[in-house]
Amino acid sequence: MSRLLRNLFMGLVVLFMALPLLVVAGVSLNGGQQLRFPPRDPSPRWYAELFTAEDWLNALANSLIIATSSAALALAVAFPLAWFVWRYRTGYGRLLYGLGIAPFTLPPVITALGFLVFWTVAGWHGSILATIVSHAIFFVTLPLVTISLGLAAIDRQVIEVAITMGADEPTVFRTVVLPLVRPYLISGYAFAFVLSLNEYIVAYMVAGFTVETLPIKIFNSLRYGYTPVMAVVAVVFVLLAALIFGLIARFGDLPRLLGAWSKE
């Protein structure tokens, strides 16, 4: 495609993708309670509201607690599994890997309902711990895939040369494998963190009435009374995601992480 045509096409698509976000950003600046675009009496007061009003602050805290701890747990489950599948060739390893990929490929409602019945039976329904564990399993796919990519990028001869120089298995892991996959561990965590922050259906089915996260609170507001704070959260989330992915791109190789060949 000629350059002009290509730029025009890409620009239009990006505009379409950005349009709802721009309108929401505008709405978040309304001075009054109403959601109007263009905003009336522009004011940043609803941004303050998110960080001061107790109910929103509570939801924000819940979301952050769940996202930080579930991403850590997802990483803790994914790393040994990814390492094992990379290190050894076993049928059960591959099966477990497939199991780790499944939650993200199936329609989320299914997994969410599975968690709902499970936590009801286990008696933990409505607990924040249940949400954390559920999110960790639901998003384990992301660190699993990124770490596996990182491990696959390690030249096997690098490992072998370390062995011939006297490194036993734990030493190889500590001095070669770990430093080389560290960036992938970080991006795996970041992916899981951002998606957990935004996740609705699992959090809702596991503990929607007791542990209110920001997405749940937005949905409730959608039903029981709009407020510009919803728009504020949307803006904050978009910026946060852009910041985190931007950092990954800055310190890592984002195209390679998303499946392009490594630079040659």
Binding site: V158, T164, M165, D168, T175
Partner: protein, 349 residues
Amino acid sequence: MSGLRIDHVGKTFGMFEALTDIDLDFPSGRFICLLGPSGCGKTTLLRVIAGLETPTTGRILLDGADITGMPAHRRGLGVVFQSLALFPHLSVGENIAYSLRIRGADLATRRRKAEELLALVHLPGVADRPISQLSGGQRQRVAIARALALDPRLFLLDEPLSALDAKLREAMQVELKLLQQRLGISTIVVTHDQREALTMADIVVVMDHARVQQVGPPLEIYRNPVNAFVADFIGTSNLLPGVADGQGLSIDGIQVAGARPHGLARGSKAAISIRPEEVVVHPAGEQGPNRLPAEVTFVRDLGASVEIMLACAGRELLAVTSPRERPDVRVGDRVVLELPPAACVVLPS
């Protein structure tokens, strides 16, 4: 007993036989080349010696001690891989001092040793650079220095120069040989490049199809290949098929004498191997023993040498002469080829 003994080693991967009954004995302090085409088993043999593969049968003995079951990280060997396998997350100095670091050597010792080794491979003052800033030849030297950090009993290199361009490769071959002579370290290099093997080795091991074909000093192998494969793989060789007859061969009814008695039954199929530089081209009608009629099919003037391609006894044949001794022939000329008996090696086919 000092040296490396490979005692009837075999290795199979599932159905695939990578090594068949390899039985070799290397005195210490020698430079050995494992030479063969890709897939011949030479790299597998090197990996078995390094401990990266376990042999299916047989034993490996180093200085009299059986190391067959010893894990690779306890063997104390220095290995340079084809990809060089430098640690991308470590600096040059840290790469070289890796084996010292995991043994708990302090920083000062590591630094001193790294500088020493860098001086040894003629690359001083780059210890603090990241690997990514080095050229191909420099990386090569770092990989060699790193493998020598622990004064290994055996120095193993798998196609170490294959990533370099032709000029640099030749220079490194000489340098590697000089380094080995200076250190007197037992060295085994895997290569598919016969020029490399002839340049560096004290002993060449020619392998094909998982088996050792011939072992010996380079010139010995060049002059007296034991079979058609070795003759063809080492240098360029002309192979003329015929039937065993007395001390030589009968080719299209013409007697051609070989250098030595071949011990083949009269009438059995055999071939003569002769190097292109030994073939002498005479004008048609020339008389004498060990002569065959031929026709010139192509003449290639390369400046330093002249290659004459010929059709003889239904075979393509190559003769190489210096420009000074160049016979006055053109494409299509009928000529007579002299195959001096001393240069003719009779091989079973």
